[in-house]
């Protein structure tokens, strides 16, 4: 574990039954809002195109966030007893 990770150790809070880091949460909210609403707004205004582009934006934002943000869980396997 790096020093940066250790500093983050006791900074997580619980939202909706799982742990989040506030700064990371803000980043994800901004990214997903921009990609989703942005997709909706830049699409040609002929229903249902804006919705589809917005939905694609939502998925893109979700994937982007999953790449740049690390989950606040550690995970390891234990050998069978």
């Amino acid at each position: 574990m790096s020093i940066k990770d250790q500093n983050k150790d006791v900074e997580n809070i619980e939202v909706w039954e799982d742990l989040v880091h506030i700064r990371d949460l803000v980043i994800c909210l901004v990214i997903c809002s921009l990609t989703t609403l942005g997709g909706y707004l830049i699409a040609p205004n002929e229903p249902p195109t804006p919705l589809i582009v917005g939905l694609i934006g939502a998925v893109v934002g979700f994937i982007l966030c999953s790449i740049i943000i690390k989950p606040k869980r550690t995970f390891r396997y234990e050998e069978e007893k």
Binding site: V10, N12, L25, C65, S66, P71, E78
Partner: protein, 452 residues
Amino acid sequence: MEMDLVLILHMIIASLAGTVLYTLIGIAPGTDETAVLAPVTMVMVLTGFEPIVILTFFISAIIAKKLTDSIPVAIAGIPGGVMSAPMVEHAMVLKKHGMPEVSIRKMASGSVIGTIVAVPLSLLLANFILPFGDTLSQYANQVFLGGAVFLALMTKSRWFALLSILPFAFLIQGLRNFYWEIGVVPEDTTVFTSFFLGITLGPVILKLVELLNRKVRDRLPRYGIKEIILTKRTPEKGFPNPFKILTKKEVGTSSIASFFGVLTFFMSPVGMTIFLGETLTSRIKEPIKRASRAVSSMDGLTNAAYISGTLIPLIAIGLPLSPTAIGPGGALFNAPPVFTPENNIHHMLSMGDFVLATIIGSVVAISITFYITIKYAQQICAFVFRYIPHEAMLGLFIGLVLMLSYMDAGILNIFGVILVGLVAGFLHRKGVNYGVQFMTLYAAPWLVSLFF
């Protein structure tokens, strides 16, 4: 004939998509059924997919979600959704005895039984209620108000819940009237979708807004990183058979539990799961036997309650008169301008369509999800826990709500939905559940019109 084949192909594709998406979402911890199913279904409806394709998607989604949200319960004691919370205690018994794998196998097999019982029984019961459907829907407003009052009285904070109905209806109608007044929405359009989602994500919206306050932020309990340990197991061989995984007695209790889950489709599924699950197993002394009987029958029941709660109101009445229908399945009943209470999936599909959609949806979902649950439960859990940050999930759903709010009534409505979300989140925190709030949302126009 060729058109039919294309349509069936679309249904199978939708079914596959719903299965894969909700197998992953189901495993993610803490995902509320309404919050994860309603927005995506809503977008699909508004995008203009065929009604029968949407129904197929939805059936697959609920079955996959219900089957997989018990996986993290078995493996890590973390409920994958509100509905799987009652199972935690029993799953922990099995985990303590080093049998999380048994837990998963029993739960997944219970789910299969639940589906097998629920699909035909729901179709049958829906046919039985169908003659009364028209009468019921003539009194829709009264029925929704009655539903709100009934559900309010069933909660622990019943007087608070009862008192909240009218003010909440005023808030909703107040915003609608305001939008008409200033002309952002034409007078014949009623803003519904975004208010619905505002209620759905209310608890999250309230929590996020609270985080803006430094004092609140400083007082919040802080945590390190959640540690999850899995015991490595060797994979299963061959295609699993649910009837071999469960003992005869477990098949029996799961079937009985599922049967009652269907009959009580209009009740809160979580409440019924706790009540029936405990009643049916309380006399078993041996802890491991009791726990595996409990998890298999509870999982059967939740699955059955979700299928019947969706199908029966949809086929027989056309109004969302069950907690499942009004919450996760809300978009199938009302998603203006595509679906309205007077013209939705109930009115558009024939009995044959319902049967076809249900069968394709459930067979695809159950065979894929059951197989991979038994075979790869650990690997999927590991993937989700390792690579899917909770922040991204929150971002995804808030992003969808923002877009749909903007679509309903422009920038102004983003703030309107925040307002609805804050009030709904506050009510939710005080014990006024989704059911009461959604029923109020439906009854609001009529309820407010009684006063002038």
